[in-house]
């Protein structure tokens, strides 16, 4: 068990002009830990995710990341080259719309292999074997390796996006509504797959979702956001089973029971 967190977020605040994106968010994320950020549209959860993943620069606050060399770095002070290297090796980002995270006009194999080639793998056979292995892990048939994701279903595209992100063995993965646009049965499969991979690989993950069932299944801890602020945080099952804040109680009671 590691004795140090992977990510340390301190008073993160983001304004868009005078409009508040998110305010004063602080937390730590440990290796192997999955944190869900829940809240309705406009609650600031996507702003927070984009700030955490250095896609957005916050107005104030810091996000410290423990690099592979054990050095703590404020991700907003990394050089462009360092940041981009981090993003394509030690981090992953799973977009809600797979087209945002995939190259739609190159084959599935190349989509998975790209990150390997980006870090200098120059052996076609090895790249292809690794891609095949990962396609298998995300339950995409081996004979689809040379097909473009354009010909894939939504669920397959999303699984491909996950494989593409995980192939370099990242330690931290950001996910923005990973099951967003999918049919319920497809969602279940994806969730189960993600849950398995996250556990197996010991990934730390930050998952933004408005779906509390997704949060319960995937996350250890959760933060509830409203109007840009974290209003309640804690162990996922405690927040869901014993919600304290009026808004959280409303969220929990709004889940449709089947």
């Amino acid at each position: 068990m590691t004795t140090e967190p992977l990510l340390r977020v301190e008073n993160l605040t983001k304004y868009y002009g005078s409009r508040l994106g998110c305010a004063d968010v602080s937390f730590e994320l440990w290796p192997g830990e999955v944190l869900a950020i829940v809240g309705e549209s406009g609650s600031g959860k996507t702003t927070l995710l984009n700030s955490l993943s250095a896609t957005l620069e916050p107005s104030s606050g810091r996000t410290l990341y423990r690099m592979r060399n054990e050095q703590w770095r404020n991700i907003y002070e990394l050089s462009e080259a360092e940041r981009r290297f981090l993003v394509r090796t030690d981090w992953g980002f799973v977009h809600q719309n797979p087209a945002d995270g995939l190259r739609m006009t190159v084959s599935a194999g190349a989509n998975v292999g790209e990150r390997l080639m980006a870090v200098g793998d120059r052996h076609y056979g090895h790249i292809r074997d690794t891609a095949l292995d990962w396609l298998g892990r995300v339950e995409i048939a081996a004979d689809r390796i040379d097909d473009q994701p354009r010909s894939f279903s939504g669920g397959m595209r999303q699984r491909l996006q996950i494989a593409r992100n995980l192939v370099t063995g990242p330690r931290l993965v950001f996910m923005d509504e990973p099951t967003g646009g999918l049919d319920v049965s497809v969602q279940a499969r994806l969730l189960d797959l993600l849950r398995g991979l996250v556990g197996e690989l010991g990934l730390a993950a930050v998952v933004v979702t408005h779906d509390l069932a997704v949060a319960r299944l995937l996350s250890h801890r959760m933060m509830v956001m409203k109007d840009g602020r974290v209003i309640e945080a804690g162990l996922t099952d405690r927040v869901l089973d014993d919600p304290r804040e009026p808004y959280t109680q409303l969220l929990v009671s709004s889940i449709l029971q089947v």
Partner: protein, 233 residues
Amino acid sequence: MTALSVRNLAKTFTMHLRDGVILPVVENVNFEVQPGECVVLGGPSGAGKSSILKMVYGNYGVDAGTIVMRHHGEAVDLATADPRTVLTLRRDSIGYVSQFLRTVPRVSALEVVAEPLVIRGVDREQAQARAKELLARLNLPERLWSLPPATFSGGEQQRVNIARGFITDHPVLLLDEPTASLDATNRAVVVAMIAEKKAAGVALLGIFHDEDVRVQVADRVVDVTAFAPKVAA
């Protein structure tokens, strides 16, 4: 050495969606469980037995009081522990057989049962071998092992749940009506398994509505009605 010590525990629910009405659940909850002892929470439905169990597992927050147990050789207060500590407590020190199984799509019964061991780093094969022993002992038909329990009957799900709770050697084990939907044969199996846990020095805290089972397993009964909140003036 006490395995679990609950002191002055209090819990209320504030129902914000019902104009902030406050529902007192329990207060001044005090009891202890020793290693090798099975303490049963007694009292009628609605007295707060399940709530106490959930607080001890960290599933419900507490308003006041302490829940102290041994964890990695140290006394830890679960009532104030941070989420990460609660998670390691659950992984290593406290088990829970809930009333209902929360199923995960596509995960087989065998994997559900083996998971607590796998999380602790036990080799998957070894964990599954142990899971098979338990499921066999609880008479769950072998053809069900590889299926996700979502479609199982209540009694079948219950047995998966029990196997999952009993597979580890956690020093504290919480049992919420583990025998509720079991037939006599399987009830007897569970009673025997509880006896073995006691013999192994595990501290058990449970709720058993079934009088017959309760008599067989309980070393002591703690009457939860004693913790009923005084009605506010």
